[in-house]
Symmetry: C5
Subunit: 355 residues, 5 copies
Amino acid sequence: MKKSKKHKIGMAPGSLVYMGDITTEKPTLSLIDYCEDHLHEKMIEIADLADIKPDEKNKIWLNLSGIQDPNFISEIGKQFNLHPLVLEDILNTDQRPKVESYGDYLYIVLRNFEFKRSGNLSSRQVSLILGKHFVLTFQEQVTECFEPVCERLRNGRIHIRQAGTDYLAYALIDVIVDQYFSIIEDIGIHCETLEEKLLRKPSPTLLQKIQVLKRESMELRRGVWPTREVINNLIRNDEGFFEASTVLYLRDIYDHAVHVIESLEAVRDLLAGMLDIYLSTISNQLNKEVRALTVVTMMFMPATLISGIFGMNFDKMPLLKDTFGFWIAIGIMALIAIVMGLHFFRMQWLSRRGI
Amino acid sequence: MKKSKKHKIGMAPGSLVYMGDITTEKPTLSLIDYCEDHLHEKMIEIADLADIKPDEKNKIWLNLSGIQDPNFISEIGKQFNLHPLVLEDILNTDQRPKVESYGDYLYIVLRNFEFKRSGNLSSRQVSLILGKHFVLTFQEQVTECFEPVCERLRNGRIHIRQAGTDYLAYALIDVIVDQYFSIIEDIGIHCETLEEKLLRKPSPTLLQKIQVLKRESMELRRGVWPTREVINNLIRNDEGFFEASTVLYLRDIYDHAVHVIESLEAVRDLLAGMLDIYLSTISNQLNKEVRALTVVTMMFMPATLISGIFGMNFDKMPLLKDTFGFWIAIGIMALIAIVMGLHFFRMQWLSRRGI
Amino acid sequence: MKKSKKHKIGMAPGSLVYMGDITTEKPTLSLIDYCEDHLHEKMIEIADLADIKPDEKNKIWLNLSGIQDPNFISEIGKQFNLHPLVLEDILNTDQRPKVESYGDYLYIVLRNFEFKRSGNLSSRQVSLILGKHFVLTFQEQVTECFEPVCERLRNGRIHIRQAGTDYLAYALIDVIVDQYFSIIEDIGIHCETLEEKLLRKPSPTLLQKIQVLKRESMELRRGVWPTREVINNLIRNDEGFFEASTVLYLRDIYDHAVHVIESLEAVRDLLAGMLDIYLSTISNQLNKEVRALTVVTMMFMPATLISGIFGMNFDKMPLLKDTFGFWIAIGIMALIAIVMGLHFFRMQWLSRRGI
Amino acid sequence: MKKSKKHKIGMAPGSLVYMGDITTEKPTLSLIDYCEDHLHEKMIEIADLADIKPDEKNKIWLNLSGIQDPNFISEIGKQFNLHPLVLEDILNTDQRPKVESYGDYLYIVLRNFEFKRSGNLSSRQVSLILGKHFVLTFQEQVTECFEPVCERLRNGRIHIRQAGTDYLAYALIDVIVDQYFSIIEDIGIHCETLEEKLLRKPSPTLLQKIQVLKRESMELRRGVWPTREVINNLIRNDEGFFEASTVLYLRDIYDHAVHVIESLEAVRDLLAGMLDIYLSTISNQLNKEVRALTVVTMMFMPATLISGIFGMNFDKMPLLKDTFGFWIAIGIMALIAIVMGLHFFRMQWLSRRGI
Amino acid sequence: MKKSKKHKIGMAPGSLVYMGDITTEKPTLSLIDYCEDHLHEKMIEIADLADIKPDEKNKIWLNLSGIQDPNFISEIGKQFNLHPLVLEDILNTDQRPKVESYGDYLYIVLRNFEFKRSGNLSSRQVSLILGKHFVLTFQEQVTECFEPVCERLRNGRIHIRQAGTDYLAYALIDVIVDQYFSIIEDIGIHCETLEEKLLRKPSPTLLQKIQVLKRESMELRRGVWPTREVINNLIRNDEGFFEASTVLYLRDIYDHAVHVIESLEAVRDLLAGMLDIYLSTISNQLNKEVRALTVVTMMFMPATLISGIFGMNFDKMPLLKDTFGFWIAIGIMALIAIVMGLHFFRMQWLSRRGI
Ligand SMILES: [Mg+2]
Ligand SMILES: [Mg+2]
Ligand SMILES: [Mg+2]
Ligand SMILES: [Mg+2]
Ligand SMILES: [Mg+2]
Ligand SMILES: [Mg+2]
Ligand SMILES: [Mg+2]
Ligand SMILES: [Mg+2]
Ligand SMILES: [Mg+2]
Ligand SMILES: [Mg+2]
Ligand SMILES: [Mg+2]
Ligand SMILES: [Mg+2]
Ligand SMILES: [Mg+2]
Ligand SMILES: [Mg+2]
Ligand SMILES: [Mg+2]
Ligand SMILES: [Mg+2]
Ligand SMILES: [Mg+2]
Ligand SMILES: [Mg+2]
Ligand SMILES: [Mg+2]
Ligand SMILES: [Mg+2]
Ligand SMILES: [Mg+2]
Ligand SMILES: [Mg+2]
Ligand SMILES: [Mg+2]
Ligand SMILES: [Mg+2]
Ligand SMILES: [Mg+2]
Ligand SMILES: [Mg+2]
Ligand SMILES: [Mg+2]
Ligand SMILES: [Mg+2]
Ligand SMILES: [Mg+2]
């Protein structure tokens, strides 16, 4: 359940109140310090924060998983000299992606989406702070998301260890954007499944699922569009946080973000088309229902009239005394039915094709 | 009831005519003068205005609640040397948010929205004037809206007392924008309630409520979009009314405004989806009505024809003399009904699912 | 009736052909010359034009009402040294609002709208030329439109008499824009009347009225949008036709124009919503019609079948010999009808609510 | 029939292949050389091209009507030193309006539209090359289009003869844009005719005509929008091909182009509204059909049931023996019919108004 | 089948993984080196790459068809000193068109579309690298696409051999954009075929085909829009990769791209119109079905009632004893039917025209 923002109205800026769900029992703080030659990786406590001294030879990556405890945030803030507004934003977990410069460091907000097979989209906020010799990351819960980057650091890949913390920041942003592809793929598959079902058997339940997917694709769009803007800002690199060589890599992520956006537009077109098909199928179905009604009425009414005619009580009526009178009447009824049947067949009213 | 603007056509600019509703019996004028060391708070009369001398050590916040009396506005205007157009705008209470520089001071118009549980959105204009050592605020009626800021001033919070009047102006704008979140939340909840009802039992009354909500979300949008522009202007800070440190805080409100706008777009998508669901539910319902009609017709017509056939007055007819003739006829009717029933069951025409 | 532009194809630019309707018997030319100390107002003839000598002490406002006579235009053109294209444009009365600089003077085109209670929107072109010490205005017909400005001049209001002709031009533009508010108000009222009728009793005639209103709001929009641009251009004041103090006043009109545009968008949303309501009301109505048909069919068919069954001519039939046989049959019919009635009541098919 | 562009794939740029229809038997080449004092006009052959020497005293206007012969184009190209891409574009007759500078001359492409009374829109490409002392025009077929300009040249109108070739180019562009007004007028009239028919008697044929008109207004729009851009480019006059005084005239055409675009938008709104009316008329019609069906069913079913009841073969039945029994039964039938008729009348089901 | 991008999440940038389909058995590498005087063309192996020395006198065009083998890419990358991100992008075959500068060379991505008669659109990525004296092209499969350019090189066309590699790059981009025309033409023809079928006999299958075509036109649009941007970037020519004379040619392709985009918009309008026609045809059809039902009901109900009336068992009934009673009854039935028939004929309910 989302927390109401009402009780934050009027609070001083920088008031640290956690707005998200509590999803881990205890926040975990992991520290990697590395340079070309060495890499140390350990879990630390708040008390150990004071010992951290980032410099050229000891580039620091501090990752906090689970941010429900404002104390952690506040202590890290003191150690790295972060602005109260940054700390507040780290705790407000429903922000849209953005990048803000605070002179000594960049504050970057991104969103980590998850799309469950059930058709459920959720997102978690990831905050990233890029300083001269350090990178701080804050995640709402423990995820494996950054593991591939750790692995590349550990494997001693020349480039990632040699390069500055700007390249590390790039690598972290890259894994987040890479995941968008995977989500778009999943949504695409979900869409196609729905479309198949729609063509086989449209139902109001399906319509609701289409609406949910449409809403989720909008939500994803609201997450990805500003991400594109964030990366664009980083590429402009007005304050020189990034090396020229890293900017080439950022340009690569930018490409990916644009690609994701276009795929999303395609999904939206697909869903709009599905809605059209649903509505026209319903209309079409109605035509067939009315036609069935018409056919029934047409087939029975003449016969019913004939039976009524021969049920009249006139003294003098033709055929009544005739031995085969009854069968002649039945025959006329049958004849009319057959002629009509042939007509409907010719009109293709009896076939299931056509509108 | 909104006043007609017709009688203002052709008036000289700066003509002071109050356009809003009269909502308080008597305007109240409250004065806070403060600096780092002291804070004086009192209710004053028009006559006391002449004593106000804002300077570095006596920063002034003058708040007028209830603006129906042009005299008040005109007197304050003289004391603070305000342009006639500013005074006119304070009284024209249906303006869109804007910021205008008059050299010595900034004139800012914002709107204070209120969303009642009944689904009713209303808004009141708030005018804010930011000078070198003073802030003036004008509200249409007495509200608790600025109370949290007073409280922070009274509590002697170091920052708000030390900082200039620009920071006070920021704090006041902040509480107004914070309230937008609360309204969006309420609208969102209202939406979800309507959607639930819609899925359970669509009705034309519901449709009208959706239309009303759509119109209100448009109205809110018309209030929030220019607010975003206002804050953007303040951040650009072309005339240096704001300290660099305060601009960081304005950037934070800007973020909030963008967030509100995006939430509003989401609400709009939600409402558009609800309209689609409503229309397709009606179409679907029609299909079921016609199907019911068809089923009834199909079930009764053959039996009616058979009864008609055996009601004919031919001399020679089969079965009529037969002891069980009647029951055979009834049996045939029943048989046809059962066969049809099975067919409809197989076609799922009797189930309530499917389209 | 609009005149065809066909016969102007290929004419030399500056060919003076009047394109509007002839609405006054005789054009009237009124002249006001004024400065801080004096004001002279008189009706003049073409021959008197040569005597006009605008200077600092004799600011001139020449107003021509009724422009069907190209001679008037051409004479005024000679006297004030106007470009042939300006004269041509004054006579082409279906132009969109614009401002053009010709070095010595600005040529401004605006539109004066009129919305009749019958729901009829019409517009007339107003041309305004602002020179160093003169203002010329050209109206298609005699209107009271500029009367409030005359009044303010006559009353010797200090500001309007002291200020330059730029302020007079502002005052004239202001009354035109002020009238837009009045029109928007009238359209809004017309809209609400239509909506009320729509909810009480939708009809195709109403639909046509909605379409007409939509078209008119588009037309108004096409008039107001460029007006906004015109005022924006005047505010930019690239060629210094306006004093800095007057620019503040232009900014005020700009605000009004934006306000009008937003109100128009709101009207458009309202009309779009009304169309949705109309269409869904029709659909809903159809559902009820079909349901009525179904109810009738369902109520009568079983009884008809029963009467048919007892009308069969079998020798041996139950109940026929029974004294109360007839009443038993009638009773069965009534029973079925009552059971069905209860069922329909429970399903709310007999109530007028629900879809 | 449009020619396929397939066989041009991979050809070298500047390959001269005529893509349009051959509409004249023989291309005609007309030459006007003129200055303030003289004007010579003659039809020439390719061989005469070499004698043309444009200079200050002999301004040249060469017009080619009928461009199917690449030789003509290629010879003119050599004489005036035109770029191969220009020659290619002259022959590719389905280009969108554009202006391109080639240093010594401007290459301008415009489109000449024609709207037939039958509702058929077609367009022809006009290429115009503006050099220092010459203007070249290329038309797909012989038209009277430029005749008014010739006439003004011949009549020795001071301005057009004195002014440079830039003014001649303006005059030619002007007649083309002037024709757009005439086309918009015709389309508007066609629209109104369709709308009238639609309100009297909607039919699928009418719908198709609306669709065609919509498509044509789109096509016109695709022609006019870039024309506006072309003129805007000419006004910017980056390379000084136009005198300052001519730019004022270009600004006039720009105005016209914007006017045409707005009229087109109005036509589009009109057509969209007509589609809405068509669809809602169909829906409405359906309601009336169903209502007619319901009324018939309701009027006959009770009477039919009563006749069935008195047709039952019970021994003991009321009224059967009664002398007036038959008339009583008929009376009951009539009574029910009358009551129903009154009810339907009160419900306005029998009137043709309402939905 | 598209490959999932999931297994690339977290990989280091520049990891060479082929994402497309394997469509050729063996990649083929062809080399053309040329200058004004000579041209050598041969198929080479990876091992031969080291011998390539592009210079002024030996301009190089290396084309790789079939890129499934990362070794090829990686070797070419080493020889021409390409950035790992370029190599990665060459293998990621679903990129949108783009141009990126890497200082020494430009990396251009384009898409080669193919539209099959069956209505199937597919696209292949083409990568093009433009260096000082070399052009590299990478195609997903062996195509004839660049053959016309080879041919022009072989034929010793002066211009293409003299000009630098920038002109060669232009020529290659040109053939790709030229193909778009051909595809648009094919889609247009496909559209018209569908529309014709739609007017003759609308069916849900047709609707699905329209949806598919709409989706494909969107896909094409997503390919062509960025192509336009790419060419626009090349024209801006910020880093001087192109000679001024070649830029004129690029401007020509830009024109083509814009033309393609506009044609696509026209196709989209066409498809939207077809959807409207489909939906209104269904509605119209429904009206006719209901009318048929109404006519049948109306024609038979009165006759049925009359037969029922004369089937009642009253002792005293008129006509029953009459010799011609039966025929009188039949006559009344026929009369009513004829009157109704005439009425329906007058109402045009029996004709197939009208709605
Ligand atoms: Mg967006
Ligand atoms: Mg967008
Ligand atoms: Mg945005
Ligand atoms: Mg987009
Ligand atoms: Mg986009
Ligand atoms: Mg885009
Ligand atoms: Mg907006
Ligand atoms: Mg937006
Ligand atoms: Mg936005
Ligand atoms: Mg947005
Ligand atoms: Mg517009
Ligand atoms: Mg707009
Ligand atoms: Mg706006
Ligand atoms: Mg707007
Ligand atoms: Mg707008
Ligand atoms: Mg466009
Ligand atoms: Mg546009
Ligand atoms: Mg415009
Ligand atoms: Mg426009
Ligand atoms: Mg537009
Ligand atoms: Mg737009
Ligand atoms: Mg786009
Ligand atoms: Mg794009
Ligand atoms: Mg364009
Ligand atoms: Mg476009
Ligand atoms: Mg465009
Ligand atoms: Mg476009
Ligand atoms: Mg657009
Ligand atoms: Mg757009």
